[in-house]
Amino acid sequence: MSTTATAIGVSSKRGIWGGGNEPLKASYGKLMMWFFLLSDIFTFAAFLITYAAIRVSYPAYSGTMDAFQGSNEYWPIPELVFDAFPFFHGVHMPLVFVGLMTFILIMSSVTMVLAVEAGHRNDKDDVVKWMLWTLLGGITFLSCQAWEWSHFIHGSDNGAVLTYVNSLNQVVTETIYGANLVVNEYGPAAFAQLFFFITGFHGFHVTIGVVLLFLAFYQAAVGVYERRGHYEMIEKIGLYWHFVDLVWVFVFTFFYLI
C-alpha cells in the first residue's frame, strides 16, 4: 500500500526533489522534532554515562545502612541522601518525594497523550481540558524540583565533618551543611556537581516544555488550531513533553535508585 500511495501529488514538472511532498510520511515539523529529540537523547545519555563513569571511579559505601554518614571519601547511597519530604522535617522517608515527582510527570504525560488523541478528533474542548491538566502537572513537577534543590542545598540538621580543599586552595576540616559546587555533606564534590548539572538540565527542559504547553493551551483555547484546520502543534509539543518524561525515567533510575 505504501508504495502505491502518492499521498501528496508529485507534479511532473517539479519531480520528487522539487518539494511539496512529505518524506517518511511525516510532516516537516514532526520529522525535525524527532531528529532534535534524537540529538537530545545523546546529550542526556552522555550526562548519565558520565555519572556512571565518575561513580565507579570512587569507592562505594561499604558500611551498614543505619550507620551511614556522608563523606567525600566514598560515593553515598542515594536513598539515604534523598529521604526528606515537605512538612515532615526530620522524618526518614527515603525516595518518597522523588517517587511522587515521578508519578506527577508520568501522569502529565498521560494527559498529554489524551490531548493529542483529542486533537486527532478535532475536539477543541477536550484538547483544552487535557492541555490544562498537562500544564498543571508540569508546573507541579517544577515546584517539587525547586523544593528538592532547596533542601539539597541547605542540607540536614547535623551536616557532616569533612576535610577538603576550599576555593582558596587551603586544606580545611569543618562541618559542612548542604551542598554547593565545591563541597557537600553527602559525598564527593562530583556528586553534587552531577546532581545540579543533570537534574538542572532536565529541569531546564521541563521549563521550556511548560512554556510550550502554555502556548499550545492558549492557541487551542482561542481557536488558532481550529482555524488552521488541524491540531498538529499539539502532537509536536506532545512529542517533546513525552521525551522529558522519558529522560526523567532514566534520571530516576540512575540517580535515585542505583
Partner: protein, 109 residues
C-alpha cells in the same frame, strides 16, 4: 471570506473509548513498573543483579513511552529505524566510559 469562515468549524469525531482505555492501561503499566522498582529498592540487596533489573525495567518503561505515547511504532519504518539504530553508538560509550572509570579507581585507590 465566506469560504474561510466555513472552515473554522471542524467536524468533531466522537470519542473512541477503546483507544482511551488503552492509553490509561499503558499509564497503569508504567506506574506499576515504577512501583515494582520502588519495592525492589527497599527489599533487595544492592548489587549487580539489582542494578541489572533496574536497567531492564527502565528500558522496558522507555519502550512503552516511545511506542505507545510517542507513537513511534506507527511512523514509517525508515523513520523508526533512523531514530532507533543510532542509539547503538551509546553501547560503545557505556563500555568505554565504564572502563575509564574503573581504571581511574584503580589508580586512585
Amino acid at each position: 471570506m465566506a469560504a474561510q469562515e466555513n472552515k473554522t468549524s471542524l467536524e468533531v469525531i466522537p470519542r473512541d473509548n477503546a483507544k482511551i482505555m488503552k492509553i490509561w492501561k499503558t499509564a497503569g503499566i508504567l506506574l506499576a513498573i515504577t512501583a515494582v522498582e520502588f519495592l525492589m529498592a527497599f527489599t533487595m540487596d544492592r548489587g549487580l543483579l539489582l542494578y541489572f533489573l533496574f536497567i531492564v525495567l527502565t528500558i522496558w518503561k522507555a519502550k512503552y513511552i516511545m511506542m505507545e505515547f510517542m507513537h513511534l511504532g506507527e511512523e514509517a519504518k525508515p523513520l523508526f529505524y533512523s531514530i532507533i539504530v543510532p542509539l547503538i553508538f551509546l553501547v560503545w560509550l557505556v563500555i568505554a566510559l565504564m572502563r575509564e572509570g574503573t581504571d581511574i579507581f584503580m589508580l586512585r585507590w
